[in-house]
Symmetry: C2
Subunit: 191 residues, 2 copies
């Protein structure tokens, strides 16, 4: 951030360049390493250490960006949810994000949060809160926390099951339909 703003230095803004190179590599499904990123940013393999303490730091920065993007795609073009159907669309968007950017999704969630990285923890929490707020809006009388965990868990689990090939679908449209169906099915069985 602070680094990103001064430009005109040697490289201009290596930090941002490294992050976007890393994103591209993740997107392309290439294996992710400091050296590869440096290479792809056209810079010596030790240059990243100017901007990131170590591999983990870079990974966390990516995760933070990922959480922001995910939040954005959950929110964009959507009114506050008012019905179970609206909530199902959250799940659909969540799974779609995971399938659109699988490697990034794995980086975001793939390891226990290091409590050390404030930004990362905050970004994950923001997601949780968004979901809780959405559920609270639709079911103000229910236990929002339990519902939020359930909604999140459901979307998250379906995302991973599709990602890991345990559930199968032909197209992204079919995935969306299945996710919607699962969400509505479980929300309507009642005790």
């Amino acid at each position: 951030m602070s680094t990103s703003e001064k430009s005109g230095y040697h490289h201009g803004d290596l930090r941002a360049a490294l992050l976007s190179a890393a994103m591209e590599m993740l997107e392309a499904g290439e294996p992710f390493s400091l050296r590869a990123i440096a290479r792809s940013a056209g810079v010596s393999q030790t240059a990243p250490y100017r901007h990131f303490k170590d591999r983990d730091a870079l990974e966390s920065a990516l995760a933070v960006e990922g959480f922001r993007d995910l939040l954005a795609s959950l929110g964009q073009g959507r009114n506050p949810p008012a019905s179970v159907q609206d909530l199902a669309e959250f799940a659909v968007a969540y799974v779609a994000f995971a399938l659109r950017r699988p490697a990034l999704f794995r980086v975001m969630f793939g390891k226990p949060c290091d409590d050390a990285d404030d930004e990362r923890v905050k970004a994950a929490d923001a997601l949780h809160e968004l979901l809780a707020a959405a559920l609270d809006q639709v079911f103000p009388e229910a236990d929002a926390s339990a519902l939020a965990s359930a909604g999140w868990g459901l979307a998250h689990g379906l995302a991973y099951l599709y990602l890991d090939g345990k559930l199968h679908a032909e197209s992204s449209g079919e995935v969306a339909e299945r996710v919607r169906g699962a969400f509505l099915a479980i929300a309507s069985v009642g005790p």
Copy 2:
């Protein structure tokens, strides 16, 4: 299997010994590699190649064992489910398994199934079918497939969220309670 039965050979049953060494290492949270497993089985580092084509083959064998164990712990000491409460206990058991054997759980689910490995695919399918059957038993009139995906997704997602530190709980008892709560909460909101 065929190999496991003849004993009195050089080692007796290296295949089984390697698998159980691998399990122990996973259980102990140690990084998993062919060499480490060979070492820990007290055998030269190339010996495993007698029994497993490559790393993937060994990993798949572990996954298959894992699926069997998971199926067993879902079934054991349980009558066929008759209510939403019973189903919630499935989810509780599922998440408990994941938290009890996190590294194994990641091996089981951590990568797209290679269609090549029949046993592995079958083991994963067996799990899916068990869940579908359970749900069908409780809600015979509903769309069992959508419900099964939902139930599985919910349990799977909660498992990963706890595993990756995105949800937190003090004790395994608390996890169980939260999972149960989430499951019952979402199953009772109705449309």
